[in-house]
Amino acid sequence: MQESSTKKIYDVHSVFYDATFGRLVRRRIAQAISHMNIKPRDRVLDLGIGTGVSLNYYPQDRGHIVGVDLSAGMLREARKKIREQGRTNASVFQGDAMRLPFTRDTFDHVFISHVISVVSDPYRLVQEAQRVAKPGARIVIVNHFQSTNRFLALLEKWLCPLCTKLGWRSDLALQDLIRRTGVEVDYRFKLESIDLWETVVMTNTKSALNLGGMGMLAV
């Protein structure tokens, strides 16, 4: 299963992650969080919080941050940061982003940063995010989406074998995600004109979800 191998890779890399890949994502994360407008009593779900790079950018005095990650190794690093920062508004849970351990309509914001393409079913991940987010909640995704520019698409194809080492693939098109999950994109932006990553800000409409017909098992 893809999740178990991803979990293993991240467990091993957790210590080195912040110094390498983590550096590259800081700016994007800071920027994305600034677009959330977190209010005092808001609940924020950080899906795939990893080592907690994002914890450096969430407000300390408002909102409650709930971090979820598949890797226990990553979460230990995240919890270390929570303690070092003296944060009282953050908690972490080990969990599978495709089977979230939360009740529906819980969160005011869901942040999905650099994680959507490392899971085996990105559509299901977004549907889970829609389920646990309140109607009208903001879902912010920072991710690489397949480029519509032919030159960049080729470059991505060339880079891909390296990226798959980190469980990163570049065959996910944003349009497919929108079509299959029914999310409503408010706006999207890149930090630079040529940036392989993109921040997409969405509103949770729940339009494509069949929440009424949920059976006994969440399978």
Partner: protein, 76 residues
């Protein structure tokens, strides 16, 4: 660092929003576990971090496998 340090009591607000990922039922805290009301899967709290993964949960007494539990629940 895998010693069994006692888990901190989980915040009631957080417990209220937590659900069993298999059955979506509420959970109750009992020692170092969070136990699902439906199905009875017991999710361990390790080093203070709740492990909400179905495969890592302890099966209720008398159930020999996850498959058997799913069958029992699905058959209702």
């Amino acid at each position: 660092m895998s010693s069994t340090t006692p888990s901190h009591a989980i915040d009631p607000d957080l417990l209220e929003m937590l659900r069993c990922p298999l059955t979506h039922s509420p959970l109750r805290a009992e020692g170092d576990f969070l136990i699902a009301e439906v199905g009875g899967l017991a999710y361990p709290v390790r080093d203070g971090i709740p492990v909400m993964l179905i495969e890592e949960a302890k099966l209720p007494a008398g159930v020999e496998s996850l498959e058997a539990l799913k069958e029992k629940l699905g058959g209702k």
